[in-house]
């Protein structure tokens, strides 16, 4: 290292570092900063108009009908997050615990549980949309087949079931991810700690809550944060399964759909509005960043250093 002339060395490092930096600066950092700036202007189609201060923010938060649209979509994101926390991360933890025991066939189960994860959300969305079809979908056909005709429902058509139908499709798609992250966490628990625990108690429950759970806390932190960011970026699955309007009547509307619809318009809406869209993007962005950092800090504090 020392033998290099400073100019040559500097040039070489710059050659290595500048192109990747330029990509990140141009296609990530600049657009995100620009999104903040855009939100303070009035937009006529693709033309930037006057500076309007916080007017766009005020409109999406406090002026009807935008305010109730925003609230409605936000509430659904919250439901999605907590539901997936149980159905996806909770189930994932249990499955990981089962897989960790290394019973016969564990390798096969591991491959199976992760298989949907590699599929595109678009494929998963269409597949489950076909499954939920009120007349011909396998879900209702199974229910009718076992004599539960009254349970066969238009799952995606009712406001009471549509969001849950989407949540279940999402959990099926991605449960393999937390499962294998937790499993990796468990596999790194030192054998001595486990042996010691086994001396202390026979209860599986005590072992899970007192030993395993605290020791996989680092995995949990990451899985929780990723789920949070994912739940508030939810777009593809509702887009394919419920449409851009969050059908039926907004009962599956989430911030992602609402943002896209506001910014780029859809067939039935009058206009597209980059100003309001940017304001929404900024609000979602700030919310995600704030909560994600709180989750990280709070959970990190609880992690046990092994």
């Amino acid at each position: 290292m020392a033998k290099l002339r400073m100019t040559g060395r500097g040039l070489w490092i710059t050659t290595l570092v500048a192109p990747p930096l330029a990509f990140v600066a141009l296609f990530i950092v600049y657009p995100i900063i620009a999104a903040f700036a855009y939100a303070f202007f009035d937009w006529q189609g693709l033309l930037r108009g006057e500076f309007v201060g916080f007017a766009n923010f005020h409109q999406v938060l406090f002026v009807e009908p935008y305010a109730s649209w925003t609230r409605n979509a936000f509430t659904h994101n919250i439901i999605v997050f907590f539901a997936l926390m149980v159905l996806q991360n909770g189930l994932g933890f249990l499955l990981a615990y089962g897989l960790w025991r290394g019973l016969p066939g564990a390798r096969f189960h591991r491959i199976a549980v992760f298989m949907p994860v590699v599929l595109s959300t678009i494929i998963v969305g269409y597949l489950w949309k076909l499954f939920y079809h009120p007349l011909f979908g396998p879900v209702n056909q199974v229910l009718r087949g076992i004599g539960l005709d009254q349970l066969a429902q238009p799952w995606l058509g009712q406001s009471s079931t549509a969001l849950w139908a989407l949540i279940i499709a999402n959990a099926w798609h991605l449960v393999g991810f937390p499962t294998l992250v937790f499993l990796a966490g468990m596999q790194r628990i030192p054998t001595e700690i486990l042996d010691a625990a086994r001396m202390e108690t026979e209860s599986e429950w005590v072992k899970i809550t007192q030993i395993v759970w605290p020791l996989v806390a680092p995995s949990a932190t990451i899985v929780f944060v990723l789920l949070f960011v994912g739940a508030f970026n939810w777009f593809e699955l509702p887009y394919i399964m419920a449409g851009l309007d969050g059908s039926p009547f907004g009962s599956t509307d989430v911030l992602g759909l609402y943002f896209y619809r506001t910014a780029f318009g859809n067939v039935s809406a009058g206009t597209q509005d980059f100003g309001l869209g940017s304001a929404l993007a900024v609000l979602i962005f700030i919310f995600i960043a704030a909560v994600a950092s709180v989750i990280t800090v709070r959970l990190r504090a609880r992690e046990i250093q092994v």
């Binding site: 290292m1 290595l16 570092v17 930096l21 990509f23 296609f27 950092v29 600049y30 657009p31 995100i32 999104a35 249990l94 499955l95 615990y97 089962g98 960790w100 025991r101 290394g102 019973l103 016969p104 564990a106 096969f108 189960h109 491959i111 199976a112 549980v113 992760f114 949907p116 590699v118 599929l119 595109s120 959300t121 678009i122 494929i123 597949l127 076909l130 011909f136 396998p138 056909q141 099926w172 393999g176 294998l180 990796a184 596999q187 790194r188 054998t191 026979e202 680092p218 990723l226 960011v229 943002f259 910014a263 780029f264 980059f274 869209g277 993007a281 900024v282 979602i284 962005f285 995600i288």
Partner: protein, 287 residues
């Protein structure tokens, strides 16, 4: 960075654990059934006609009945979408791995002013949801004349893939021993030659991990093509899927065969390389 493969815990009493393990085994089998059944129904239905799907949705089909696949192959732009997906994913992966390794190598092997700042800069991009910046990205692509051009996708995917790649590669390159490098330097080899001939062959395992970490989300992405690409001949597979799902919306056999054909490439590769896939895709989440 790989998943730890420690031995499973030893069981001290076979009798005592039998009941408990039996329960666990049942749960695991049930779960595996739920995971695989939808995929199996999809593949089976792809070989059926509409009446067969309505009347016997779960029966084993006649696997010689490939009309649905023939229609997808000949009547739609499927092949074109597939090629486009390969072009875009291939282009982005080549750039991600090249640029990511360059940056990681510089950060990991040289001490220079701002190195840690640059690493932080990349890490900041790790969790930022870029979807929310789609409006400025859209305007940027318009100004660069890249709308309706696959380079818009390649560039965005490259930028999105760089943070994780730099993160994974930096950690790995740092762990490499110095001896080889120092010896080569003594022999008067240039820095570029040291990197190319000596260090790069050593970082291949990390490149596989970083590659898989990025290749799956890029291959599957739908959002950016939705906004950037309108010309049918330029669409990637997930986006193209929405086009022909619309065209054949009433022919369920064809729909299922379209889904099957789209899912097949990645499922087969996954089954062959499941260990690497699992390690790669969870790499960002495992410390």
């Amino acid at each position: 960075m790989t998943v730890a493969t420690a031995n499973p815990p030893q069981h001290n009493s076979l009798l005592g654990t039998l009941g408990r393990d039996g329960l666990i085994q049942i749960i695991l089998i049930a779960n595996t059934f739920i995971m695989l059944a939808p995929i199996v129904i999809m593949v089976f239905s792809a070989f059926k006609t509409n009446p067969e799907i309505f009347q016997s949705p779960f029966s084993i089909p006649d696997f010689t009945h490939v009309d649905n696949f023939v229609r997808i192959w000949t009547e739609t732009n499927f092949l074109r979408y597939l090629i486009n997906s390969f072009v875009v994913t291939g282009g982005a992966m080549a750039l991600v791995l090249t640029l990511g390794t360059m940056a990681a190598y510089a950060i990991a092997r040289y001490e220079f002013f701002g190195a840690s700042f640059i690493l932080l800069f990349f890490l900041a991009g790790l969790t930022l949801p870029l979807k929310l910046a789609i409006i400025p990205l859209f305007m940027l692509m318009r100004d660069l004349g890249l709308l309706n051009n696959q380079f818009s996708l390649i560039f965005v995917y490259t930028a999105m893939g760089l943070p994780t790649t730099v993160f994974i590669m930096t950690g790995f390159i740092r762990s490499l021993p110095n001896e080889l490098e120092d010896a080569a330097r003594m022999d008067g080899a240039s820095e570029a030659r040291i990197m190319w001939a000596i260090m790069l062959p050593l970082v291949r395992p990390a490149m596989v991990i970083a590659g898989i970490q990025n290749v799956v989300p890029i291959w599957n992405d739908f959002f950016f093509p939705l906004v950037f690409i309108q010309n049918d001949n330029l669409k990637t597979l997930p986006q193209g899927l929405t086009t022909f799902m619309g065209e054949y919306s009433t022919d369920y056999g064809v729909l299922y065969s379209g889904l099957t054909l789209s899912a097949l490439p990645i499922i087969i590769i996954y089954i062959l390389l499941s260990r690497q896939f699992i390690a790669g895709m969870t790499a960002g989440a495992i410390k």
